[in-house]
Symmetry: C2
Subunit: 210 residues, 2 copies
């Protein structure tokens, strides 16, 4: 963690969106990457039921359809999407607050949701997590054993479309080697902090006035 002196104020955080097919390993990659980092991980809302082992409030906020629609009604979502008959969404308020206090915000969401963030936020950095192959993705989905064969076929068919649209995102990280993929995530985060549009006039004044 970087220590920040009171002046200049901590720069605005980065809004980083991880997306990619179900089974591509977003969760494990995220945990390794964010280890020891002081970031704000945005927990999505969903109307789907929890899978075995999923922790409410950590993996998702599990809510019923009524509560979910209420959230959208308050114009409170950065994105919301329907996937395989369930709703998913990301509340906007806590994200803006974290960015303002200088924390990086991490979203791990479905591809459709990520496309919406592209529209609703200019600052979002979109990272597509790529499977090494669809064969490998099938192997991972079957190994997970949380879906029936029909659901797996649907996911694979969707994954195929998504892979072919990878250009719509800012970065593509291939998740074939976890260590390398983690290092890729770190590099993106570090490089994005160095973008010139993040330089405040105050920092520039500090340099030329001394």
């Amino acid at each position: 963690m970087i220590k920040h002196t009171p002046h200049p104020p901590r720069p605005r955080g980065l809004l980083i969106v991880m997306t990619g097919a179900s089974g591509v390993g977003k969760g494990t990659l995220r945990e390794q990457w964010l280890q020891d980092q002081d970031v704000f991980y945005s927990v999505s809302w969903t109307t789907r039921t929890a899978r075995p082992g999923e922790r409410p409030g950590q993996d998702y906020h599990f809510v019923d359809a009524g509560r979910f629609l209420e959230g959208i009604g308050q114009a409170g979502f950065l994105e919301h999407a329907e996937f395989a008959g369930n709703h998913y969404g990301t509340p906007r308020g806590p994200i803006e607050a974290a960015l303002e206090r200088g924390q990086d915000v991490i979203l791990e969401i479905e591809v459709k949701g990520a496309m919406q963030v592209r529209q609703s936020s200019k600052e979002a950095i979109l990272i597509f997590i790529m499977p090494p192959s669809l064969t490998e993705l099938r192997r991972r989905l079957e190994g997970r054993a949380t879906e029936n064969p029909e659901q797996i076929e649907r996911r694979l068919s969707r994954a195929r479309e998504e892979v072919l649209e990878a250009h719509a995102f800012d970065y593509v990280v291939m998740n074939d080697d976890l260590t390398r993929a983690v290092a890729d995530m770190h590099a993106i985060q570090r490089a994005e902090r160095l973008k010139s549009n993040r330089l405040s006039p105050r920092v520039l004044s500090g340099i030329v006035d001394t």
Copy 2:
């Protein structure tokens, strides 16, 4: 160094331009950063005379004004600029060849030249090397003792203007701590390789067809 198999072909290299005020430490930073890397370092042409210790063909190709203008006449420069009465330029041909064979190309040039590369090349990645302060920059220039006081004042006045225009570049790397600045350069290079627009259709086909 990364080993490349014959198929898929090695992706096109990155064109990375380092710029910043005289005395900001671009040379040392570049040497540390590029250590053990298989890159193409583009040696600029210049009409100025060599400073003590400068190696012809390594620091610059030192040419006379006639030969320099001949080079421009063949439309062979990615950028050319006049600075403190001397001409500087970067030949285009060898750069394109290196990018094509998959080598990253590194340019270390004056700010005016970098601005021209912004215009003449869409793929160029521009990195502005920032001094910690103008006071520190003055100290470094005086320590170098290659310019007279009047030249130093002129360089500082120019540096001030350039710092205030840092937003014109893609990235800003503060050169106050060499180790950190070197890591910043590595992160930028790594992240840029992950940009989605560098994904070839061939790679995508390889993923979905397996």
